[in-house]
């Protein structure tokens, strides 16, 4: 077949990811971010590496040395996850690293809770669901993992979730944010019903929607809608609500990019 000379390829396409790749390796970048405390360092590193067993070993050692199990959630597990989230946001590591780290962190949180009767201070609850009639849930699973990775409690209602079930969960859990994902144009219409039923009950919680055929124009049509273009927007929206309140207009100004 025809072929191009090596020197001709740059005139046709540029792999910008190659030319922009950072010099520092992910491991080196992580090393710079780990806390220096000798009991916390191995836990944070094990979170970054996604090694559940090493996380538990590190927690055991820290608790044996007198650290409070509940305090370790924020002081070690969340710190380690913070390293992971920062590297992901900076484009240094990829999503599977975050997922594996989140798995390890959740195991660590469960371990800490089992070591004491104390209850950790909640950061905020987010209710996640996939639109009624839609069974495509990988996007929702990523959203839920990223929210948990950022310390939020997630109530995961799963896929093909009836509108009324979303409303009941919101009334019960009093979340700071509701998320909805959908792949298909016909199922995303359920978002409008969720919006209308929440308003009927006088609940004005931000409702972040995204996925597949969902677009900003559609989400902007209903009062509580905030469009999330990427799964990684979900924790950013939740953090924004904690810092700046849940005004829909402010959220749209911040997150509606088009």
């Amino acid at each position: 077949m025809l072929d191009l000379k090596k020197e001709d390829i740059d005139g046709i396409l540029i792999r910008y990811n190659v030319s922009l790749e950072k010099e520092m390796t992910p491991d080196e970048a992580a090393e710079e971010l780990y806390p220096k405390d000798e009991l916390i360092y191995p836990i944070a590193k094990a979170i970054y590496e996604g090694e559940e067993d090493d996380v538990i070993d590190g927690l055991k050692a820290a608790i044996d040395a007198g650290k409070n199990p509940i305090a370790l959630i924020n002081d070690a597990l969340m710190v380690g996850m913070g390293v992971v989230s920062q590297l992901y946001d900076e484009g240094i590591i990829f999503l599977p690293n975050v997922m594996m780290s989140a798995d390890a962190m959740l195991d660590g949180i469960e371990y800490c809770k089992d070591q004491t009767d104390e209850v950790p201070e909640p950061k905020g609850t987010v209710v996640c669901h996939v639109a009624e009639g839609d069974v495509h849930d990988i996007g929702k699973n990523i959203v839920a993992a990223l929210l948990r990775a950022n310390g939020f409690d997630v109530v995961d209602l799963g896929r093909d979730c009836p509108v009324d079930e979303v409303i009941e969960a919101v009334e019960k859990e009093k979340p700071i944010l509701v998320t909805g994902t959908a792949l298909m144009t016909t199922t995303m219409y359920a978002f409008k019903e969720v919006n209308d039923k929440l308003l009927e009950k006088g609940i004005k919680v931000p409702f972040a929607c995204g996925g597949g055929a969902v677009n900003q124009d559609f989400v902007s049509q209903y009062e509580l809608g905030v469009y999330g273009e990427e799964a990684a927007d979900a924790p950013k929206i939740a953090e924004f609500i904690l810092a700046s309140g849940d005004g829909i207009e402010k959220l749209r100004e911040e997150f509606h990019k088009h």
Binding site: M1, I12, L13, R15, Y88, P96, M99, T185
Partner: protein, 461 residues
């Protein structure tokens, strides 16, 4: 009866070209797919509110069909395929799908009778075989799905397709964890097992109703990997892993043709060039003219061997240039016109190579799918063609070898991250057993424990 491919349909990769398939398929109203010309395949989705009732849906599809056919005759297109991918209501209520097919075909017949335009209608029921928590590949949902195929086949659909989801529960878990064995198990083993079952039955329905069992796509898995991988700057999945998943998917999607399907394969099966090289069936593809639905990094390259050229999907609504189906359909028709001129003037291999070269070095995905490399993946599959595990593992290994060669040539430039991810996949593959029974046993143990929604009984295990 499933007959596995153990040899290639074409003697050399150079024989692969758009518009010509070794085994053309006659369908619908005067159409022959892969018989020396390419045809636009227009795809669409109803507006959200159209799903409210059967009547609204039928009306929506009547508008879509009329608009599409009207634009095709207005610009002088000699042929067209319309594809209706069901919204879930149409598959869950089989008579709805049947009535939509009937309404669409009635309009298409009117245009065929009046203008002589060659046309066919593809219907693609949704894979409804699941409940809220689990895949439910066998049992009541399966029967309902087959009833949907019966209804559309009886009422006007000429080409039967599906984007089946077998193996997706293990794949979804694995792809987010860089778990090579899980990706191979989900697509190559579980996906293939489900494909053999479902396509044997679809082929029987097609035969009974004198319509075409067209083909499948690994949209649920390989396209999920491709979409998560995204563009050059996205940081969600290494593109080297996405193309390994794609190579594996060729062995899986091939099962449709081994169980009685004859093509054309589904548009979003980016694995279709590999499949055409093995089977000789015509294929649909999508790329630069499906940016209404999604982005990819090989928009020209995938035209290289297409027989139908598709826009994947567009919501039906108004644009400046007409309705969305008219605008995108027109783009497809002009793409096909160019390819058809090349075919008539003997320039098709030159145009094919231009399509391929414009994207070959853009990304590892396009590099492996470039037809001469796709052909090599095909050869790796047929080498152990009778064993679903070994042949899909072979495809993954060959994919990695091709990438290594591309890197060594200096023409395929990868990031360190992509190269490292590739090395990990190669190491993972090298550690896998050479025996499918052992692999099955290892994976059943591992994924029953790790993937809460994995139910082996879905696969008769």
């Amino acid at each position: 009866m499933v007959q596995k491919y153990t040899s290639m349909a074409y003697a050399s990769a150079d024989d692969l070209v758009f518009g010509k398939a070794k085994f053309p398929v006659k369908a619908g109203l005067g159409l022959e797919i892969g018989a020396g010309y390419t045809t636009p395949e227009i795809n669409y989705a109803p507006r959200p509110q159209a799903g409210k009732s059967k009547e609204k849906l039928i009306k929506e599809y009547e508008r879509i069909t009329t608009d599409s056919m009207q634009r095709m005759v207005q610009i002088g297109a000699p042929s067209v395929v319309l594809e209706t991918e069901h919204v879930e209501q149409m598959t869950n209520n089989p008579s709805w799908g049947g009535e939509v097919a009937h309404a669409q075909k009635t309009i298409m017949e009117e245009y065929h009778d009046e203008y002589g335009i060659k046309c066919a209608l593809r219907h693609t029921p949704g894979d409804i075989r699941e409940d809220r928590d689990f895949l439910k590949l066998r049992g009541d949902k399966y029967d309902l799905l087959m009833e949907s195929f019966e209804q559309i086949a009886q009422n006007g659909a000429d080409l039967l397709s599906i984007e089946s989801m077998g193996g997706k529960e293990v794949f979804d878990y694995s792809i987010l964890r860089n778990d090579t064995a899980g990706i191979l198990f989900g697509i190559g083993v579980l996906g293939s097992m489900d494909m053999e079952m479902i396509w044997s039955d679809i082929a029987d329905i097609a035969k009974k109703n004198n319509v075409v069992a067209a083909g499948d796509t690994d949209c649920a898995q390989a396209n999920t990997a491709m979409f998560i991988a995204g563009g050059l700057l996205d940081k969600n999945l290494a593109h080297t892993i996405a193309i390994v998943a794609r190579a594996i998917s060729a062995g899986r999607s091939l099962c449709a043709y081994e169980a009685g399907a004859t093509g054309p394969g589904k548009d979003c099966g980016y694995e279709n060039t590999i499949i055409k090289s093995i089977s000789g069936v015509p294929i649909a593809q999508e790329g630069k003219s499906s940016t209404c639905a999604h982005s990819d990094v090989m928009g020209n390259l995938v035209m290289q061997a297409c027989d139908l050229w598709s826009n994947e999907s567009v919501e039906y609504h108004g644009e400046f240039g007409g309705t969305s189906v008219q605008c995108w359909g027109e783009s497809l028709a002009y793409d096909c016109s160019l390819m058809n001129v090349a075919l008539k003037t003997g320039k098709e291999k030159g145009l094919r190579d231009l399509f391929t070269l414009s994207d070959k070095y853009r990304d590892p995905q396009g590099y492996v799918l470039a037809y001469e490399n796709a052909y090599r993946v095909g050869q790796a599959i047929v080498k152990d063609g009778t064993d679903n595990y070994l042949r899909t593992k072979n495809a993954a290994v060959e994919c990695c070898t091709i990438l290594d060669e591309g890197i060594a040539s200096g023409k395929l430039r990868l990031t360190r991250f992509e190269t490292k991810a590739l090395a990990k996949v190669q190491a993972d593959l090298a550690a896998l057993p050479d025996n499918s029974d052992q692999f099955m046993s290892d994976c059943l143990t591992k994924y029953k424990e790790e993937v809460a929604v994995f139910r082996p009984e879905n696969y008769g295990l």
